[in-house]
């Protein structure tokens, strides 16, 4: 509102579009709600079943933790741990396979991004220790 959501001399002001877009979102959301209430046939369908939701959360929560860890250890260490966690916890692989795949993937990514494409990714204490950061 502060920007002026009105029509000035020379056309719309800066807040004009966002205001009407917001309005349209509200209108169409309300209409969708009405449609959903009128068409009761979908009402029986659950949004998501409980055991499926558990699976989805089993991925979503580690992903959130993973992103939080990136800023702390850098992307390479965080990703290695993330892949290892998944393989061990959901896939129940033996430790040697877990280590081989997770470390191997990240070494490959390191070579692709840092050496080949020269795109710097976030690094942490481990890379500094190894002298590649």
């Amino acid at each position: 509102m502060r920007l002026g959501a009105r029509w000035a001399e020379d056309g719309p002001q800066a807040g004009y579009f966002p205001f009407y877009i917001g309005l349209l979102v509200c209108i169409s959301a309300a209409l969708n709600l009405v449609m959903a209430l009128v068409n009761r046939e979908d009402a029986e369908r659950d949004f998501v079943e409980l055991d499926k939701l558990k699976l989805v959360l089993a991925v979503l929560i580690p992903t959130a933790i993973y992103v939080a860890v990136i800023s702390w250890t850098g992307i390479y260490v965080a990703s290695t741990l993330f892949i290892a966690f998944f393989m061990r916890w959901l896939g129940k692989y033996p430790w040697w396979k877990v280590a081989a795949v997770s470390i191997g993937t990240m070494v490959a990514f390191f070579l692709i991004f840092e050496s080949w494409f020269k795109v710097p990714l976030p690094k942490g204490p481990l890379e500094n220790l190894l002298g590649v950061g």
Partner: protein
């Protein structure tokens, strides 16, 4: 025949050793992306886009970069068919219709025939679309050179209204999703006055949302979460393609020339008018079923039922680049990402591209011919390899894909905040899919929002705030009228259905 000459020059550009190598890399990466759940054309290109920033800086580099990215797109289009036929899991939304007849064929042990038919008809569809692009785009571009802000706004309006009118989702869901996209696009600095909007006082939102991050989250993470619901293992038919099967199928295919031609026409039309590949494939499957002499057998494993949707999907996917190149209005989410790439590389998509960047445009068009030929050869020879990728257990492939998505969204602006945004968009994408809100209009609105608004306000500056400028001459009036008609179409068809019953 200026076009032929320009195209010949384009082949010279595209046939350099480096570009051919990039083409092959792009196709192979693209097929892998198309086969993997959670990675598709749009977000695959979005993830790899930051890697081309340095490539695009060398002379002629933008052409190499667009060849790499567009070949990933062709590869993804080919790859979608593999999973639909062998595993009954559409790797891409546009290959859903391919499962109807493709999977039954695979169950009858004719997977090789189905795959050959799918790849060959994809190739035919793409080829027809490229020919259309070759001859139509210079004409459209020349025409569009005369466009001013009102005309451009009318084109944008037509794009958005076409989505509402042609989507198979309820129109208000399309509008809601599109408006959310506009709202996200409006965050940050106002393009005309420089005022800050919708930032809620945080510095992090100053630059607005990057659509690349949105695409990676919505399509990548959202898709992974959705796939998880289906369970962790894939079961599929085994695939063997040998020369005999290929030749046998090729002998059978000319019988369906009418279906191919019809589907290619549907596809080209739906690609240029931004309907997209997905509705095109469904539409042409429906049309083929109605017109085919053995239409009632569709769904039990008819080669023709594979030919129709694949031809149309590829034709639509390819011809979606026509409005992107000539008008700067992409016809599909992947074309929108490619458009974003052009802007980042410092090219201005639109009619001037055909005047100022001849090497780029014609190199790209020539690479479409070559890329699709290369693609056909790659997929026909490497199917077992690609099918093997799907046998990697999900608990290994899922975290790797999430890591790739995280790296992709980090590299856009080198900021961790974008990675968080990706996770948020991922959850949003999952919810959208569950509630059957379409994602394509949202992505297109994020990409085009600022440009559409800017052209609207420029038009208003010219006309001193008079709306009548959108009907001021025949051209802009027709486009605006057509747009409004498309917008009203769901209402009209609903009323007609009511009247009939």
């Amino acid at each position: 025949m200026d076009e032929i000459q320009a195209l010949a020059h384009g082949f010279v550009v595209a046939l350099s050793f480096k570009n051919v190598a990039l083409m092959l890399v792009g196709i192979i990466l693209g097929v892998i992306i198309g086969v993997l759940p959670g990675l598709g054309g749009a977000n695959g290109v979005a993830i790899l886009l930051p890697l081309t920033f340095s490539m695009a800086q060398s002379p002629g580099g933008t052409t190499s970069a667009i060849i790499l990215l567009s070949c990933i797109y062709w590869g993804a289009l080919f790859g979608g068919a593999i999973t639909s036929i062998l595993f009954n899991i559409p790797g891409e939304p546009w290959s859903v219709a391919t499962t109807f007849d493709g999977y039954p064929l695979a169950q009858h042990g004719r997977a090789g025939n189905a795959l050959t038919a799918a790849f060959t008809s994809s190739f035919v569809g793409a080829l027809i679309a490229v020919i259309v692009i070759t001859f139509l785009s210079p004409v459209v571009a020349r025409f569009a050179l005369e466009f001013g802000p009102p005309e451009f706004f009318a084109v944008y309006l037509l794009t958005f209204c076409a989505f509402v009118g042609m989507s198979k989702e309820p129109p208000f869901k399309t509008i809601a999703s599109m408006m959310l996209g506009f709202a996200l696009a409006a965050v940050g600095t106002d393009p005309v006055t420089g005022a800050l909007r919708l930032t809620f006082g945080t510095e992090k939102l100053l630059n607005g949302f990057d659509f690349l991050v949105a695409v990676i989250g919505l399509f990548g993470i959202g898709e992974i979460l959705l796939t998880l619901e289906e369970g962790l293992a894939f079961k599929g038919a085994s695939a063997k393609i040998n020369m005999r099967v290929v030749l046998d199928t090729w002998k059978e295919l000319p019988r369906y020339w009418m279906t191919s031609l019809r589907s290619a026409a549907v596809g080209c039309f739906m690609g240029i008018v931004p309907g997209g590949a997905t509705p095109a494939s469904f539409m042409s499957y429906g049309v083929a079923r109605r017109f085919s002499p053995n239409g009632e057998k569709f769904g039990t494993g008819q080669i023709e039922g594979v030919v129709a949707p694949e031809t149309a999907a590829h034709a639509a996917g390819t011809s979606a680049l026509l409005p992107m190149l000539t008008l700067g209005v992409p016809g599909s989410p992947t074309a929108a990402v490619l458009l974003g790439g052009l802007l980042i590389w410092g090219l201005q998509p639109g009619p001037l591209l055909f005047v100022e960047q001849k090497d780029f445009v014609w190199g790209l068009i020539a690479s479409m011919y070559l890329g699709n030929i290369a693609g056909l050869i790659v997929v026909l020879t490497c199917v077992p390899l690609f099918a093997a990728i799907l046998r990697i257990p999900f608990s290994v492939i899922a975290p790797v894909i999430i890591v790739i998505c995280a790296i992709g969204s980090y590299t856009v602006h080198n900021s961790i905040f974008d990675v968080w945004m990706m996770v948020v968009f991922g959850v949003a994408g999952y919810a959208f899919k569950k509630l059957s809100y379409p994602l394509a209009p949202l992505v297109l609105a994020i990409v085009l929002g600022d440009r559409a608004e800017a052209s609207f306000r420029q038009a208003m500056l010219v006309s001193q705030g008079e709306m009548s400028v959108f009907f001021s001459n025949g051209l802009v009036g027709t486009m605006t009228g057509l747009a409004l008609a498309l917008l009203a179409w769901p209402l009209v068809s609903w009323a007609l259905a009511k009247l009939r019953s």
